[in-house]
Symmetry: C2
């Protein structure tokens, strides 16, 4: 936590810069995002954190001459009040219906003629446009401020932002990706020709990594590197900070049929402006970019600061995102394989944890997370965690985005704790994300058993569902909630997210939620989703069951619990269902078999049978006899009373 005087100093520096701009700013907005709309950001981009002290992963700060506010959601209210200097900062609880949105707060609290500034690299066009509309309606102006004022304030206070990382980039061989970079670019060029566009500008870091079959480590947990990629009918230009690419990378790209031109990262804006000028003078074709590209990139690509008549743009869901969404068979095979190895690591950890706690050893949440990482490191092709491990004992399990801190008092996992463990691994052949909930003493209360079983019923309802090809993931959300809704319970998060292949653990544009995913192109075989209902009793315990699932086509002959009952294929649209990738049993003592119908009971027993028959031989092979014995006990059939 920053000291109060530091917080004030920072605010004062920023306010001075706002006042001294060529156009004086009545307010300055500091979003969380980096220039690539990344979910996780590098330290170089943690501007909202620096100005406010608040370290949560979501939130937007607004600073005026007299006020300083952060809009964030219910996950972070407590954390905000701990971290921010509450004498200087106001928390705007955006989950509450009565909290005005940032747009409406600005248009109500500023005066006509006022100017609101923001670094256009840190806001997407999709966010920019409605904000601009609201401010214009109130006779205010939204001004793109080219250099970041928080960075400038940091420099003034001799606390300059850390250097943007530019770590080593490595080539991911074709045996993991299944498709050469050359093939990917060829497909995109076909679309570029169909769209009659001059260039595709790829701004999302995972999309750049995906197209080129490269991986980096510039952002924790996400194996990506800071770069933009511009694909034209004749060239592929990488805007990257480290000069030329390593020889091994250039070599693989060459083998995969790609000749890449490398330019400095910071040249993207002038390059796009030049492109816009050339197009305006020539054929006038539009540039194609993602609607999640920043306002700065949109402005550059339309030439809005260099042309009297800016070019029209094609701004829509990225074709790379849509390509990446459908995993190739090689990627799917990798997902299946890494989930077996990941399952072994998690099973070994769970056995270890139960033994420690049964033995009366004091294991803290952090120690548990570290031990889990040790087990994962024993597995082939493990590259690191896919996100910060959520290891929540007792009441900490009820904090949906909890992760234990290495500093301050440490929570020990007790016999009488429910323990929620949400973790994942990056492997060269895939990405995992699993949550299991354990009652350490194996004696849940009736209420806990009821809730555990209801959450499981929800997971099975999604896992066993059949649905028409092409419907959006959101249609499945209510299945996951039904057994909870029936008794007045619910969970305050979505049911599923897309997952990248050795890329971001949260990947768009699909997902399963009551909230619409407007760019979800509809479900198809080869998509990967999480299936993770939960239940949280504040101050007591949390329950979440999370599997990753693969979407598969189902016919009467498929290995699926509902296959043999099929009498139609949705009038030719085709039947889809899920195949579960995750390989770790659920705790039998927490399941009330009397609450399961026949299909649910056989579903969970078949799943446990599959986990044992898949992991068992591997454990045996590796001489992990005690782990195997433990797994056998955990996978015994559940029978009704």
């Amino acid at each position: 936590m920053d000291t109060p005087s530091m917080s004030l100093q920072r605010l004062t520096a920023l306010r001075a810069l706002m006042a001294s701009q060529p156009t004086k700013l009545a307010a300055y907005i500091v979003p969380t995002a980096d220039a690539h709309n990344s979910e996780y950001i590098a330290a170089a981009d943690a501007r909202r954190e620096w100005i406010s002290g608040f370290t949560g992963s979501a939130g937007t700060a607004v600073v005026t001459a007299s006020q300083a506010l952060v809009w964030t959601d219910g996950r972070y209210y407590t954390q905000f009040e701990k971290e921010a200097d509450m004498a200087l900062w106001t928390l705007m609880k955006q989950s509450l219906p009565d909290t005005p949105s940032m747009e409406s707060w600005l248009s109500t609290n500023l005066s006509e003629g006022d100017v609101v500034g923001v670094d256009p690299h840190t806001m997407t066009r999709e966010e920019w446009t409605p904000l601009q509309t609201t401010l214009t309606r109130s006779k205010m102006k939204l001004l793109p401020v080219a250099s970041n004022l928080v960075d400038a304030a940091r420099s003034q206070l001799s606390d300059p932002p850390p250097r943007r990382p530019c770590n080593q980039v490595v080539a991911l061989p074709i045996k993991y990706t299944g498709k050469t970079a050359g093939e990917k670019i060829k497909e995109l060029r076909k679309k570029i020709a169909e769209k009659k566009t001059s260039a595709l500008v790829v701004t999302a870091l995972d999309e750049v990594a995906y197209i080129l079959n490269l991986r980096g480590s510039d952002i924790d947990y996400n194996p990506v590197f800071f770069a933009y990629l511009v694909i034209t009918p004749a060239s592929s230009i990488l805007f990257w900070s480290s000069g030329s690419l390593p020889d091994t990378v250039t070599e693989q790209l060459k083998e995969e049929g790609v000749k890449i031109e490398v330019k400095p990262y910071s040249n993207i804006v002038p390059y796009l402006q030049e492109l816009a000028k050339n197009e305006a003078a020539g054929s006038g074709r539009a540039v194609w970019l993602s609607n999640e590209a920043s306002e700065a990139i949109h402005r550059a690509a339309s030439g809005s600061d260099v042309l009297n008549q800016p070019l029209t743009l094609i701004s829509e869901v990225s074709p790379v995102a849509l390509m990446k969404l459908v995993k190739k068979e090689v990627e799917l095979e990798g997902f299946r394989n890494c989930h077996i190895r990941d399952g072994i690591a998690v099973v070994r950890f769970l056995r270890w944890l139960h033994e420690q706690v049964d033995d009366g050893q004091a294991v803290t949440e952090i120690q548990a997370a570290d031990k889990l990482l040790e087990f994962r490191k024993e597995e082939d092709d493990f590259m690191g965690p896919s996100f910060e491990t959520i290891a929540g004992a007792g009441a900490n399990g009820a904090i949906i985005h909890y992760s234990p801190s290495r500093t301050g008092p440490q929570r020990t996992i007790h016999q009488q704790d429910m323990f929620l463990l949400d973790s994942g691994g990056q492997y060269k052949d895939g990405t995992t994300d699993i949550t299991r909930t354990r009652m350490m003493n194996r004696s849940p209360s009736p209420e806990q058993r009821d809730a555990f079983t209801r959450v499981l019923k929800g997971q099975i309802a999604v896992g066993s569902a059949l649905f028409p090809l092409g419907v959006k993931g959101n249609v499945l959300d209510s299945f996951a909630r039904k057994s909870l809704w029936d008794v007045g319970l619910d969970y305050a998060h979505g049911t599923g997210h897309g997952v990248g292949h050795y890329l971001n653990v949260h990947e768009g544009p699909s997902g399963i939620s009551w909230r619409p995913y407007p760019h979800d192109p509809g479900m198809k075989p080869g998509h990967i989703l999480s299936n993770e209902p939960g239940f949280y009793k504040v101050d007591e315990y949390g329950i979440r069951h999370e599997d990753l699932v693969e979407i598969v086509a189902i016919t009467k002959e498929s290995d699926h619990p509902r296959a043999k009952n099929l009498v139609g294929d949705y009038d030719g649209r085709g039947v889809l269902g899920f195949s579960t990738l995750t390989m770790v049993p659920h705790q039998r003592e927490c399941i009330d078999a009397a609450m399961l119908d026949d299909l649910e009971l056989s579903y969970i027993n078949n799943y446990h049978k599959r986990v044992l028959s898949t992991l068992g031989p591997k454990l045996k092979e590796r001489g992990l006899v005690q782990d195997l014995e433990w797994l056998e006990r955990e996978c015994q059939p559940i029978v009704r009373g």
Copy 2:
């Protein structure tokens, strides 16, 4: 059907007008909509029908110098090919994934510099903007053509459009509406003040009728009248064609605290232009209108044809639509009461129909619909059907938007037919919409029984669901489909629509569908929805079960099958469920009790018990002994095995 030479003559006349415009039109678009975006239209507005011959309720015609096309959906492919001259017209099957959208067809098939014309009264701003964007990107132009070219072509061919109806307007007393027009306008003026807007422009016909507590008959089935209503902080101006309002209407409006100024219907555009000019010269406040208002009204309200710097508009979901959505207790009481009377009429009809068919009488679909209307006419406050009756025997039941024709060969309802009857009534105290499906010989095939039961399970899943206050209706859609999806079956329509109170039987902005309703403000007590899953076996039979339901708040004490199990209220958000308004039993012989779980079985038996105990005493009172006996048999408990 028009003769081929008539069709060609009409097209030729329109093409000549397109060529002779001040700016020559390469294409002219003829949408289905009237100037109020009404779902059902008056004959005066049936322009697409006149030019193409196609009478379906949905579709958009595009005419170029050499081509003529209609985009419509799967409901109408067969009908289109029957009605349109296929030598002149091309059917664009918009439900097929490979059919280009109208936007993309225009931008591909016309040339740079071409101009596309449309009457801006017949297209909403929400439709106009994306079309304009697409055409601009292809260097084409979308031109608002002030006078309608189809109307002009009609006049040239001495077949002028019928006069716009301007039938009698009547006042609906407070005992039916529960809220005076004065109170409604006062509430809207409060919102007008909060929005700092100069005026609210009400363009939807049902919204005008709702605010003023007036009803008309200008459009079949919808008790509305052609008018616009402009509410300013100090005045209420009705743009209406018939001169002054009848004295009884003026009297009620006065009693309800409203002084109304009446101006000619056609003055709306110049009035709004004048208002825009005044605002531009004065305070510069924005006009507030619905995003479903036409492009013509948007242009007028922003002053875009009369100002150099058009005003910003507030264009969003109509506040009247949101007000109307939550029914007052008086309106709800009316809904409950009219459903009892409507139930009596439908029960009497079903008994009559079974008797006729059992007796070997030849009853046609049209005769059945007419007989049903006779029974409804016997009920108090009945004002007419709420839509054209869908009476489909056998294969006709599988045509989702079928309605029997009075001309041509007539289909008789046979013993071996499944018979699908979807109908509704307008009553002064509410609107009904009910579908029941009957197997005339009471001996469904195993497949029919299975499908009938699955559709019923879907209806019960929605009818018995509990869900958090404020979630959107679309979250319930999958519940209705689950029992069908589980075996590869589905239905090609939504599950529920909003219903007006003695107004339009289809009322936005809410509904239950896999398709998002973007303006659904979330479910609240007092909304009325339909609950109507179905199943259609093409060329054989159709099944649909449709009830209207009222959204009610549920606590542990409520009369709801899940109330006693409640252990939470969704963390304070509040629990909602449904109360079924419709009062007609489902056919017992078609229900396979073995497929119902305990809750479903007791749900259907309780429903039948409630139908009998509600309608029974009324039938008895009215001496309808045979109807009562029939109902008693139909409502007997269903038992398993």
